[in-house]
Symmetry: C2
Subunit: 323 residues, 2 copies
């Protein structure tokens, strides 16, 4: 986790921008501006909207990345938004990751993969890449510095990711206590031994990371803990000293800087807070958007609004965390 | 689940062939035969092996599909094997799904997706496709009849998939008791109320499907229960009458026809058993392979061996299940 922690220190900003585009978050004139470009690239007319959205998502993401790359340490593209468009969307996911990495950002791929051991080994190529054959270079198609992983299948579904992370100087984040309302249906169940299910998972997570603690005291196996659960987050911070925490659910889902403060350690490290719609959709709340804008004007508004929202979030977190 | 059940009845074969290619499972001369074809399609030399494997996987899959399409009802491509090659692999995953569907097979996409509600809605486009804009057709980039889903996030991570399945006459299968050794670390924990975690999940699964029971008595929300857990499988069959069961772990992972028999209902319905390596890797166990074979000869051996292995599995299941 050292690279992420150092990127946070360099920016004095423990936040990550979620690059989760949807059709509603991209100004329509930006989407429309790609109509001609994609027309010859599709095989049948029903493919046009997905192809057009895919290229618009990349332009939108590039605009956001350029606007925030000097003030935030990391981005977290959510692959579901891209898979929703089919393989063309997956291409744009990888292009987004590559572009963000080129701009110096730590790229946290929110893919929530999880499977049995032999299959997890295949997914772990997200981190390890593919051997390059006669080329001495490894081919890294995904360009991710970390991925999120689901714990439901236990240790043998996690080990391949941990090994790939250690070999490639990368990290993983395991779902522990997710931000959504119904997460309690499973995660908050009381076990016979007195623990909650999520506490049991948390203890597994600490074990999975034990061999990979870096120079800042945190292992390569982080935990996902929603900002919507401030008390459990505080308890987990105390329970898992070597476990870095990724905190979704800030902003649009209701979490505040005060809610997440308890997930940081005494030095103001140990956690990074994600905001997606609050940053990339900030342009919709400015009152400055107009349908008559050109695509470039709309992207300019997207950029300015995203940067301001990212600065506001940074400043709010600094006040709450660097106490 | 009606379409799958009818496909099983038509073939009298409750088995599904896992299309999970790996480099070790594709004869090397088949991979080598695509060296020239891909050379111009890559941007840098380290991409060559992945690009070459991707096209070889499709040729391999097509060979298997042609060899078994008249005797099995369904295939289950495991997307991890394709993601391991990057976006080019994902393309081949969708091409494989499309080709299998064209041959009349039910396509069960083993993607094990799971996320919070708004993100699950994006993943659910795997089933619903993308609106086709001015075209009246919906664009279906994934060509899946069903997907596997992870329950760790609770109801709001599942509902979008159930709604998409109902709208598109498709299905989902939720992980309940997976086949891998360490699955017990979480799934077998004792809850304070006396249930095991997997039993609690099983009860959630039954509830998630309750509104979607079809004409054969099974809902659109199936459960994944490993062949390596015959006693729990038998208990789940009794516990969840309207829940169809997908059974991985047969063959290479150790499950036998007797182990899975208890997961079927009294009419010999209610479950489908997956075999991956046992079918697609059957050529390696024949003793007939030779490095001097041409690519076409090797694919011929792959086809014959896969068909024979699929017939053997079908016959073993018929004896054990249609009792």
């Amino acid at each position: 986790m050292d690279r992420l922690i150092e990127a946070i220190e360099n920016t004095q900003n423990p936040s990550v921008v979620g690059l989760d585009p949807t059709e509603a978050l991209v100004p329509p004139q930006v989407v429309a501006s790609f109509a001609d470009e994609v027309r010859d690239s599709v095989e049948s007319p029903e493919e046009l909207p997905a192809a057009q959205l895919a290229v618009a998502y990349f332009e939108f993401n590039r605009t956001i990345i350029d606007a925030i790359a000097d003030i935030v340490p990391a981005v977290k593209p959510q692959i579901a938004m891209y898979e929703a468009l089919g393989p063309a969307g997956v291409d744009v996911y990888t292009m987004t990751c590559e572009y963000a990495a080129q701009q110096g950002l730590y790229v946290l791929g929110d893919v929530k993969r999880g499977d049995i051991g032999s299959t997890a080994a295949a997914y772990a190529h997200h981190l390890s890449g593919v051997a390059g054959g006669e080329s001495s270079e490894t081919f890294d198609p995904w360009h991710e510095d970390a991925v999120t992983v689901n714990p439901y299948l236990g240790t043998d579904g996690i080990t391949p990711f941990v090994e790939a992370a250690a070999a490639a100087d990368k990290d993983i984040f395991v779902l522990v206590r997710t931000s959504n309302p119904s997460s309690s249906e499973l995660q908050m169940l009381d076990l016979a031994d007195g623990k909650k299910v999520y506490e049991h998972v948390a203890d597994l997570v600490e074990g999975w990371g034990a061999e990979t603690v870096g120079s800042h005291g945190y292992s390569r196996v982080g935990a996902v803990v929603g900002a919507t659960h401030p008390e459990e987050g505080r308890a987990l911070r105390a329970r898992l000293p070597p476990t870095f925490v990724l905190v979704p659910g800030y902003g649009a889902q209701g979490g505040t800087a005060q809610d997440v403060a308890g997930m940081f350690d005494e030095q103001g490290s140990g956690a990074i807070v994600n905001s997606s719609r609050g940053i990339i959709g900030a342009w919709k709340k400015t009152g400055k958007y107009s349908e008559s804008m050109t695509a470039d004007e709309a992207l300019g508004l997207v950029a300015d609004s995203a940067r301001q929202a990212a600065l506001d979030m940074r400043d709010n977190l600094r006040v709450a965390v660097y106490r």
